[in-house]
């Protein structure tokens, strides 16, 4: 029996990842959009149809109840959502309204007989948990875990439904993350700094390496939360990134951090500590002083 699948995504890029995830079920999913999302931006991604819940509220999360109603009306068996912040929130609310199980941030999906099988990480990223759900389910997929499908070319029909308006949450203002703050999740290459740096002035070394590589600079949690050297950090409770290149300097590589770089294509690490866990989680590692390595590497890169 073909699983009837609906997808919510906050952007066309994420929607394309959901198309790939849905392929595990041999199904062409339908797409649900809310508020001021534009169906034209999603038209040719390969969805069977686009259901647009219109409304004045700019917050997608406020349409969750209406989404659940639409899924029930359509006898949807699986609600698949790429797990950015908005997606995760909507997925969990819909699971709550439908009273059904939900797998969070699945990186692997398979169709079993009358069941959905999914894998996700727990215990800070050290453990893989495989779950099986029979009947209706909600799954959020880890961003970057599934390749974005190529556009199908065929424009999906659009159905418009009045999404109603939940005005109990009001958006008063939006501020960009911070002056000049970089969105690491969109960076092609990232140099990551860790506790191997003991003074803020020392970060200059990392910035010079980043400039030579054409990379942005990120950090591990203590440099943001304790030292306040950065507004955000890479890790399980921070940014999860999937760049072409992740190059760490002075990062020990605790699981809570390395789960944030699981999607990186190439991981290079330098640490003075030969026993640092990062060396079990990198493609290429250099044991040694990060300042010495950077000075020796810079002339090689120009």
């Amino acid at each position: 029996m073909m699983t009837k699948i609906h997808v919510y995504a906050s952007s066309p890029e994420l929607a394309a990842e959901a198309i790939t995830a849905a392929a595990a079920f041999g199904a062409q999913p339908a797409l649900i959009l809310t508020g001021n999302q534009n169906p034209a931006d999603f038209a040719e991604l390969g969805f069977s149809e686009i259901v647009h819940l219109t409304g004045a509220n700019p917050l997608p999360e406020c349409y969750a109840k209406q989404i659940a109603t639409a899924l029930r009306a359509d006898d949807s068996q699986l609600f698949l959502v790429p797990g950015d912040l908005t997606g995760r929130d909507i997925a969990a609310r819909v699971a709550g309204y439908l009273g059904c199980p939900m797998v969070s941030e699945a990186f692997d999906l398979a169709a079993g007989p009358d069941a959905i099988q999914a894998s996700r990480l727990t215990y800070g990223g050290a453990v893989v948990q495989r779950q099986q759900i029979t009947g209706r389910a909600v799954v959020s997929i880890a961003p970057g875990a599934f390749e974005a499908a190529a556009p199908s070319g065929a424009a999906a029909p659009v159905k418009t439904i009045d999404g109603g308006s939940d005005d109990r949450v009001t958006l008063v203002a939006t501020h960009p993350k911070e002056q000049g703050a970089v969105d690491l999740t969109k960076a092609d290459k990232v140099v990551c700094v860790g506790m191997g740096f003991s003074a803020k002035e020392e970060l200059d070394t990392a910035y010079r390496l980043a400039k030579a590589l054409g990379a942005e600079v990120g950090c591990t949690r203590p440099l943001a939360e304790t030292n306040h050297w950065f507004p955000g950090y890479i890790g399980i409770s921070g940014d999860q990134i999937a760049p072409k290149l992740y190059f760490s300097l002075g990062v020990s590589g605790q699981v809570q951090h390395t789960v944030g770089i699981r999607g990186a294509k190439l991981v290079v690490a330098c640490s003075k500590d030969a026993a640092a866990p990062i060396f079990q989680n990198c493609d290429y590692g250099v044991v040694g002083d990060l300042f010495e390595l950077t000075e020796a590497l810079l002339p090689q890169l120009s």
């Binding site: 912040l85 215990y123 993350k177 390395t258 989680n281």
Partner: protein, 253 residues
């Protein structure tokens, strides 16, 4: 008087989990503790209860052994703590959300505060689910908060911006660790905790329904698929030269 309910999860310490060479997972050495991020949520609930003129009540869902969570939770400024015994049903998000919603209804609470995720599961479902069960508004990823008349003003760390929102009460919020520090309990607070009410209720009596159609089929250690090649050399200059060649070959320069 507005009661503020805060979720306190009794979890295995993720630092003690051992992955063996055959990828099996050994939990036997793991001690139990209140989830790291719940400490920040408890402090947020205590502050909000003060601002709203109500009580801060810690709620733990889990088996009878989870009662130890209440002792620690009470040292952190809560007025009261409750264990809802869910027996074998455990403390997954789908269960925890039911428990928090049921407690909120029973106590006429107007605010549920939860950490953004738990340090063992980090599923990030509980707050949104609880809000849906109650049909209350929810704000996740809260990085700053203040109570006003019948509502909260919150900052939310959205994907590419910080949102300033108002949310009417009753509501559910989940807080990031950066929303407020979790101070180390003073000796005075630890002593005062012993006099505060810690009670137990049965999950079944509260109407908590176990989850029948979702099962965990396996639990294994995460095997890194990285190459783990160490770049060797007699000098740093040699290592650097080799690394540069590797970066060129891998097409990342």
């Amino acid at each position: 008087m507005t009661d503020v309910i805060v979720g306190c999860k009794w979890v295995l310490d993720e630092a003690d989990v051992r992955v063996q060479a055959d990828q099996s997972v050994d939990f036997s050495l793991a001690k139990s503790k209140i989830s790291e991020y719940d400490k920040n949520a408890i402090e947020a609930a205590v502050q909000l209860a003060q601002q709203l003129g109500g009580k801060a009540v810690g709620v733990t869902a889990g088996p009878a052994t989870a009662k130890k969570a209440l002792t620690e939770a009470l040292t952190r400024g809560l007025d009261e703590a409750v264990l809802v015994d869910t027996g074998d049903a455990g403390s997954s998000a789908q269960i925890a959300a039911q428990v928090l919603a049921a407690e909120a209804r029973e106590r006429g609470a107007e605010l549920i505060v939860v950490a953004e995720g738990s340090s063992d599961d980090y599923a990030r479902q509980t707050p949104s689910r609880a809000g849906a069960i109650l049909d209350w508004p929810v704000v996740t990823a809260v990085s700053g908060f203040a109570a006003a008349e019948g509502q909260l003003k919150v900052s939310r760390a959205a994907d590419d911006a910080v949102q300033e929102l108002t949310v009417t009460l009753p509501a559910v919020i989940s807080v990031l660790p950066e929303a407020c520090d979790a101070p180390i309990p003073s000796l005075k607070a630890a002593l005062a905790a012993k006099k505060k009410p810690a009670s137990e209720q049965s999950g079944a009596d509260l109407g908590v329904t176990p989850v029948a159609n979702a099962t965990t089929t396996s639990v294994t250690g995460y095997a890194s698929e990285r190459q783990c090649v160490l770049v060797e050399g007699d000098s740093m200059a040699e290592k650097a030269a080799k690394l540069a060649a590797i970066l060129k070959k891998e097409g990342v320069l």
